[in-house]
Symmetry: C2
Subunit: 593 residues, 2 copies
């Protein structure tokens, strides 16, 4: 072959006609037609049709006869315009084709277990086992290009703001507070372990104490938790920390970054400042701490109206300190039969609700099994509060506060999707603020940090730390997009006394706090600046901006729900000598002895 410069398939157009080109790539598809062979040749830039014609090269045609899908080839040829009858308008290069003068097979390919097409109608396990084939498909190629562009846009914005990108360790110290750690046995210090970081939290705080005032990292994080569709054992976060900024300033910085990203990669203008909503309001209106505000159907609180209702379920919910709330499913009374509503009832039971009461508005009347218990006064109150009209369906849950929120919050989302109330082209960002600092765990009988133990309380609430910890709000903020939590942050504790108080509230003895976080407590004593930051899940941002629903499609080599890599077969057994060197052994080995 000649030393000609390679040309990318996707770059060819009518402007290239008559050019002599060298192409390299994969055989997407071969068609034999009337003594000619047509191949769709694919490279990283796109696809072009190449034609083998005995008039041009009998030799090339003969080679092409043996070529099959996914062969890797190098071809020389000339770009020609297609006849108007053969123009392919669905193909970016569909107005031209390349007449081949020479071809070399660079590598052969067995028949792939699934076709390299936009839609792979095969099991995800098979796709993951042959991830390198899966990745050749256009939608995944596009997703990882998008991921690249999002990452570079984030960097670009933060670099312009004088942030420094810095790397924190992956081999770190295990701290029991938080999710489960992945452990790494030490060979040098036998019996001791590193932990993979759940986030660079403490290191980024130490960076602030190290006098760098603006840090960021696209950071790998690890959690050994049971996985769901939107969780992976290793994930990536956009990790940011600053000194001397208020929570307002950090939120502003974060939303300007997201504004820049949206403009750069999607061409979408989002207007700032982003909406903010206190946690309590988000729960009350949407039954969720990460509300999808792309549609309405908010929770309507009717406890005041029905607290003395003849329907005892309502009455007793209120009397025992709970709530009664409803969703007004506008104009859908006829859509949902009694059977359909039974299914919705089953759905809310998953969230702990004991039942789902309902009423349909027919003209001026309320119909349904509980209608007879509702007084005229209650009816008028409900109609007004719910802005109910003829044809509306009212769905009630009366229960403990968190059950009402969880069940109606989930039901709202389900109905929103089912009834196509959601504009899939919209991007609704929202800050949720004023989070509770602490959560009480009934089982363990102690408070846990709602975010992490380094989050600062809102200044005016600090005095409540000792007396009513459950009412202390955190100086924390979460960024929500379309009902997904992108991440969040907080202003951290920078005063050693407050940090010690916090550990005490969390049930740490002084010795325990010292043992686990002594280095932090000490660092706070040597001139720690006020600081705070934010961490956003990159994988989730990519997922939402790529319009995908599976987090695994945004990670190059993801793991399954059982944390396996089906391609390389990790984790796997290791040589016993490797364990000997680490001075560890498997428990079953021991039991065998």
């Amino acid at each position: 072959m000649s030393k000609q410069q390679r040309v990318m398939a996707g770059s060819l157009s009518e402007a290239s006609v008559k050019e002599s080109v060298l192409l390299k790539g994969w055989v997407q598809k071969r068609r034999d037609l009337g003594g000619l062979i047509f191949i769709d040749l694919r490279d990283a830039s796109g696809v072009v049709q190449i034609v083998f014609n005995p008039d041009h090269s009998q030799r090339a045609l003969e080679i092409a006869e043996n070529i099959r899908s996914e062969y890797v080839v190098e071809v020389e040829g000339t770009v020609v315009k297609r006849d108007s009858s053969t123009v392919n308008p669905t193909m970016k290069t569909g107005k031209i084709e390349v007449i081949v003068s020479a071809i070399t097979i660079l590598n052969k390919a067995k028949t792939p277990p699934f076709a390299i097409q936009d839609k792979a109608e095969v099991s995800e396990d098979l796709r993951l086992s042959y991830r390198y084939l899966d990745l050749r498909r256009q939608p995944l190629q596009e997703t990882f290009k998008l991921r690249h562009h999002i990452t570079q846009a984030v960097r670009h914005y933060l670099n312009e703001q004088q942030f420094l990108e810095m790397e924190t360790p992956i081999l770190t110290k295990s701290t029991p507070e938080g999710a489960r750690d992945y452990l790494v046995p030490s060979r040098v210090h036998q019996g001791e372990f590193y932990a993979l970081p759940q986030s660079p939290q403490l290191f980024k705080q130490l960076i602030m104490m190290g006098g760098f005032e603006k840090y960021y990292q696209i950071a790998r994080c690890f959690r050994d938790e049971d996985l769901r569709a939107d969780r992976q054992p290793e994930f990536t976060q956009i990790d940011v920390e600053t000194s001397f900024l208020t929570s307002d300033e950090i939120m502003q910085l974060t939303e300007e970054m997201m504004q820049f990203v949206m403009k750069e990669v999607k061409g979408i203008d989002i207007s700032l400042p982003l909406k903010r909503m206190p946690y309590d309001e988000a729960m009350a209106r949407y039954g969720s701490d990460k509300p999808d505000t792309r549609f309405g159907m908010e929770l309507i609180h009717v406890g005041e109206i029905v607290k003395k209702s003849g329907f005892k379920v309502f009455q007793s919910a209120i009397e025992s300190g709970g709530l009664v709330a409803l969703l007004n499913v506008k104009q859908q009374a006829k859509t949902y039969s009694r059977k359909d509503i039974d299914k919705l009832t089953e759905f809310v039971k998953v969230y702990g609700a004991k039942g789902l009461a309902w009423l349909k508005v027919e003209g001026e009347e309320l119909k349904g099994p509980i209608a007879k218990f509702i007084s005229e006064e209650e009816k008028a109150g409900l109609m007004e509060k719910a802005q109910a009209e003829n044809g509306d369906l009212l769905l009630f849950v009366a229960d403990k506060t968190n059950v009402v929120y969880d069940s109606l919050g989930a039901l709202r989302l389900k109905l929103g999707k089912e009834l196509h109330l959601i504009d899939n082209t919209a991007y609704h960002f929202l800050w949720v603020t004023d989070w509770p600092l602490l959560e009480y765990d009934e089982e363990q009988g102690r408070y846990f940090a709602a975010h992490h133990p380094f989050t600062s309380p809102i200044e005016s609430d600090i005095e409540k730390l000792a007396t009513e910890p459950e009412n202390v709000r955190a100086n924390a903020y979460d960024l929500v997009l379309n009902g997904y939590e992108l991440g969040g942050g907080s202003v951290r504790i920078h005063q050693v006394e407050l940090q010690k108080k916090m550990f005490k509230v969390l049930g740490f003895s002084e010795a325990d706090a010292q043992e686990q976080f002594g280095f932090l407590l000490e660092a706070l004593e040597y001139g720690a600046p006020p600081h705070g930051g934010v961490a956003l899940g990159l994988d989730r941002i990519v997922m939402l901006l790529a319009g995908r629903t599976n987090l695994r499609d945004t990670i190059l080599f993801p793991k399954t729900a059982s944390a396996s890599d089906l391609l390389t077969n990790a984790p796997s057994e290791v040589d016993p000598s490797q364990l000997d060197e680490l001075s560890i052994q498997l428990k079953s080995q021991n039991q065998d002895k």
Copy 2:
């Protein structure tokens, strides 16, 4: 305090005079002088002097009296020009100072265990234990800014070349070929382990098989090896892989990237193409596979001249297939006494040399203990070959080839430093090419891959794989800077048959190859493109460009030679319940039972 915009200390200059400013930062130093207090206030941008004067604010002065080093403060004041007598020319902001009108203490500080000065004359262990204080020092601040800029320059260059930045997994499969893996026990798959990647090698090859043609990553890598000053358990490499490029093209791309980095961060033009030198030549001329070409004093091979020498050591080295070579230490005959040379002899013995013969040129004569064995003809030959002149010192090693190279290579570097022959402002890049593909390990009685088992042989050498593997050269290249290996790369094997042959040469049974690398062998069968790449050590690049000698100064939170983090105290013991969940136990636990 007012809501004024904060100003950075380092940004102040004569242009700021009369401005009212809000500053935040650390107290570098306090001086009391004639009823006034002067503080050097430091923030991430630099240092400015602030002055407390009772005429301006008695209150501020009183607060300042209690302020000590490393307190964090916020001050308001006015920029004024200094008297010419008090201008500090060593300080960037030395022409001005800030007269303080108000101050708030944001945090106090205990007296640090060492002063935050450019030079910390304390043990490295103490510095690492208080890394957050160490990081506040100017040289480290500068190093991590440089690291940031190098990283961004690399990204900028590769992004412009249409590379995609992609993330490969950290939880991977253990493969015994190579260095020792860090292992991570799996909780879900009990008895199985992940390994932390020694490099993304196989994943980047799989990315090429996934149809992405240009990949890069600033990738964290892990090796559980005994550490030296220039090794860390986790390190970062600039990891690049491409499809369809030749080794020449990959080298060109890499050197253009380094040229861009040098220009961007150091303002230095390096001219391309970089010099290339085959491995054999590097060894013969410099006794090193990573020669420091900033100075001469090359090895001079004199075996032909002294092969029949009366000095039996020379004669027998040649007869037994070894070498005789010398360094001509120009004009240093008088510098090195017999005692000095004895010390050099001890030095080369570390590298396996049995001795160091020497001759001094005095006028036309050679002097020294072995002079009497050297014939006139040999003398003339030596003088000419070594271009020896009056006053030169000739240092000989006669031994097995690798001993001669190792000992004279090391001696050359030692003398180069000792005699200040090295221009410390110079940057000498060099490609070392034509590496041997395999190395024979006497102990284990088999060949090992000199780079890794996926490196392709030079095409014309493939036939020697079965017959004389030791003479097969690799399609590999290493980039050397000032005597340090920055990294290297190769064109990989993309044909399944060749890869299988390679595993066979390395002593793998078919079953073993399948067990460990089955996924790769299979991937090679589904249309793997020709591909290759390069990986450069980022930490080392930062070290050399920052003019430092300790790799730990280039890593934010480094580990000691025993792989400990002295700041957080990792690794550490973990809760037995954590091990129970992983179904592993410590060996000593078992023995205690």
